[in-house]
Symmetry: C2
Subunit: 647 residues, 2 copies
Amino acid sequence: MRRWSFGPETLSADYLEWHESARAQCRREIVQMTHLADSGHPGGSLSSLDVYLVLYSHANLDPQNPWARERDRIVVSHGHTSPGVYSVLARLGYFPPEDVIAHFRRTSHVFEGHIEREAPGVEWTTGNLGQGLSAAAGMALGLRLRGIAARVFVPMGDGEQQKGQIAEARRFIAKYALHNVTVIIDRNRLQIGGETAKIMPQRIEDGWRADGWHTVEIDGHDPVAIYRALRSAAGDAAQPHAIIANSVMGKGVSFMENKADFHGRGPKPDEYARAAKESGEDPALWNLEPYRARAAAGAKRPLPKPPNEYPRIVPGEPRTYAGDTKTDNRSAFGAALADVAKANARGTFTPIAVFDCDLEGSVKTEAFHAAFPAHFFEAGIQEHHTAACAGALSIEGIASVFADFGVFGICETYNQHRLTDINHGHLKLVCTHIGLDVGEDGKTHQCIDYVGVLRNIFGMRIIVPADPNQTDRALRYLLAEPGMFFLGMGRSKLPVITAEDGSPYFAGGYRFEPGRGDWIRRGAQGIVVAMGTVTGRAFQAVSALAKEGLALGLAHLAMPAEPTADFIDEIARAPLLVTVEDHSVRTGLGECLAAALFARGHALPHLRLGVERYAPSGGANSVFLSQRLDAESIQERIRDFACARTR
Amino acid sequence: MRRWSFGPETLSADYLEWHESARAQCRREIVQMTHLADSGHPGGSLSSLDVYLVLYSHANLDPQNPWARERDRIVVSHGHTSPGVYSVLARLGYFPPEDVIAHFRRTSHVFEGHIEREAPGVEWTTGNLGQGLSAAAGMALGLRLRGIAARVFVPMGDGEQQKGQIAEARRFIAKYALHNVTVIIDRNRLQIGGETAKIMPQRIEDGWRADGWHTVEIDGHDPVAIYRALRSAAGDAAQPHAIIANSVMGKGVSFMENKADFHGRGPKPDEYARAAKESGEDPALWNLEPYRARAAAGAKRPLPKPPNEYPRIVPGEPRTYAGDTKTDNRSAFGAALADVAKANARGTFTPIAVFDCDLEGSVKTEAFHAAFPAHFFEAGIQEHHTAACAGALSIEGIASVFADFGVFGICETYNQHRLTDINHGHLKLVCTHIGLDVGEDGKTHQCIDYVGVLRNIFGMRIIVPADPNQTDRALRYLLAEPGMFFLGMGRSKLPVITAEDGSPYFAGGYRFEPGRGDWIRRGAQGIVVAMGTVTGRAFQAVSALAKEGLALGLAHLAMPAEPTADFIDEIARAPLLVTVEDHSVRTGLGECLAAALFARGHALPHLRLGVERYAPSGGANSVFLSQRLDAESIQERIRDFACARTR
């Protein structure tokens, strides 16, 4: 395998010779794989092809060691150009081209319709347009934090430039002087629906320049121009570069050129024959039978899996908040975060980074910021970018914490987290101001769906702690664990939950264990299960009912989406169940438990208390009162329910 | 009440006199309400105050008739400046100022922390930053479609400019020449975390100009300059204007000026006293006792509710697809949409509008586009803007249809739909390419959470039809009904579901009824409930099992989140239940039915078949096979389950 670098001033003769020959081969393979799949995106693959060839062959990459620490990262944002990417990677030795051609877009291999991180050489699964630059920024932060002098290249589409998230990403990159990030935009002037200028007129260069980027326009099919622009970007420490590479959709296949139709379809048999003929190549090269046979036989070479890197993090000593403490979970989170960062620090380095969207004081990340300023990223009111950026950093060996209000960190950025999960990320999403407990901000800020929304993400593990002690221990737990986690909390100061003896319940011998129901009180006449903010109110209700002679057990379930079977069976032995949550009553704790109980064949009377409609502005107590989720209302509602069941 | 207009070249002397006096009063009230609430956003309210005074007093508005058809629309995008908005509206007679001061941010009245459409004079509930301009664009489209010559003004914050969605909105507005939209940005140079230039450096004017807007910079505290800039925008038919109003956060209260701290907190008692003193006003005006007493007494005047306008739409004659038809639900949707639009047309007008994000050919809105070009909006790859814009149009007496792929129309834009629902919108969200049935695009494009995500939105009613006939009837139903609806479908051609006699099941006497389970076959040994795309596969499985001697009933449930009690009780009488869905097995049909059965006290064995992990690329059949959701696998899995239960 020949390799080149961005060292020389211009392209070498031997490279140019290789480029010519590789281009013809890749072009053929792009046509072949999209024809065999009868789908896929040949048009953009062909318009981006010269860029991919120059870039992948000159960047610091080693196909034999595709995840080398020091490698340059290439994040292809317009992931639908997968035929182009795969053909170039195959040319460079990442995997055999015949496997790609045979298995492209088939369930039998990793060569998906949109590039997928399972394929060596692919850094980030994309396909949802507009997220690649944010991911690249996250990787660039990882390189900086770990002291790796590598570059990050981001090929993008021109239709994609319409996505607003890109503007957020480029401002972030400019702010943090991530000048090792270089963008190269394939401007073929077409998108699915036709001419980009008609679908959505846009002055692409002006947008990049407005956000502080240097732009240059080149011929996207001239390898020398591509090389020089990329090299020049590498030599400019003062600003990030966006290279606009003017190109021709379908370049090199006459009937595909400048045809929007070939954005997203493969050539039909007659078109395939025509492409073969006009190539002037040996017809044997265009014979598809070997690939068809290969696919039919399931023949393929196994590929190495991308590393699933996560730092070793020690949780440190938990803090204990005494029974009479009045603090909020947010503060406990902030203190524990700084603790863990310090416990794992080597000098100014800690294996943790924190992202903020202009809410540092509210989400309580100030102590971390003060202790590790180089690990704290203030991204402004740019949540989409921030979620994607934090997600990508999480695969770079850094525990990446995105701390935000619930409505922004969950409702606004769900799709970004979903893509991080598809990429096997380890994002730690911490949201404050969840539920109705948001202060007086009102319904737009009430995130009442944190369980209901996030549990759709397969890898996301949801934790909603009861009080500051459990918050502390849960945060330490999830930082030490790989994988995606959500930690959610309201805004208010909460009572410390205590055991019968008055000692803090979630302290002493307590250890955080996933899915466990924590029995705060025992009682034979029914079970109340609470989650998060309202646990103290449920506790008051249960205590008051005990005085009335109704002995109910009270448990807290911090991980509503994954209760243990033991806990479910224990609930089922009670005469009735009440769930109390600061969450939509439709999709949270009550729903999870109902479904889990049903799945294990149980039936028992169940009263679901939770948020039944968008709630008004007000202090926490009056908002809970307005929703009949204050302690007295809970008490009354449980009493009514229990009486009706025992009559 | 005095009213003015943008007719004269400059402000009249009587206006200027009123402005001075009103400004002092509003400033006092802003300080009072945020002090009494001990929260809220006085800083931005004071920096925006002069703009609000000039704008609300000169725009074509009538406080006695706050929802007059011909009125100008003012969409305040930085909704946290509610004290400023409320105080100015109160000054103009929309509601009594004493009610606002007494009840601001209290559950007792509509005066929320972020402006809320329930308050007369407020056009759109905002608070989630960056969405106001998109909403304004939707209203401007409504005005254009209905032939109303009104203007739309959009006050915005400067921190808010960081949100990428704004760039999408301004390109859309420029493309559609919505030059009656005028933006005025309150540039006080501060946001919660401090200086905007430090939090996220940004060249605001350059961004607007890059997207085709005229910009002008003015003194945001000079009423004459504000007036002239707004008037000049109104006189320019060639381009939309963005006015950058340089201002001082906390303007007019010495200790609040240029203090980011007062972005989001009310003055403390000593600060309140200082503000009162420095005002030089009669101390009686600063006496809060009357407001406290008013709040304590719950005294308030009732306010009129905003209209909940929805057009009268006749569903037209359903189309029937014969039993041997092979078509997809997408095509049936597209045909029915064009039918209904024509059935309700008066000349070139129809009470329907359709939004597209560069997927017209895939989501099958071409027939509508061809028939009603002025009602079809191609927004490009700008889903966040499009969702919010379509949502706002839905309150303007037009049935607003947003048709997109599932992953973009749901996962990417959940928060926008949530805000539309909070605004009592009537959005009709139609998503194709849901589930695994997306063609070979792969996991980034597989929206396997359409039920699990959307059912968190209180007003959203979810419909997943079984075949083209039901799609046709469901679309007609939801267009005729007010409120938020989702209609979801995959990409593939589907078999027409037939009754025992071979006739199309969802035709003839069939009428779409919410929540109904449709019994496709009856059988005594158990019940299979399917939803959407996989219904045909479930049907094959049930038919094959019948031949093996296992007689199972098969029902289709198109509205999984709201099954009727009758249907649930009918299921409960069966010996076992199997659910089959092209959706995450955790959060869709199976979960909804399990919870609904549990809620009604039922227990029975339940096999949940659905998507258990992110799936690879491939044709529909091979993807379903890879997830064991093909007909044969379904048959096997049901057989195993049933045998184990009957042994």
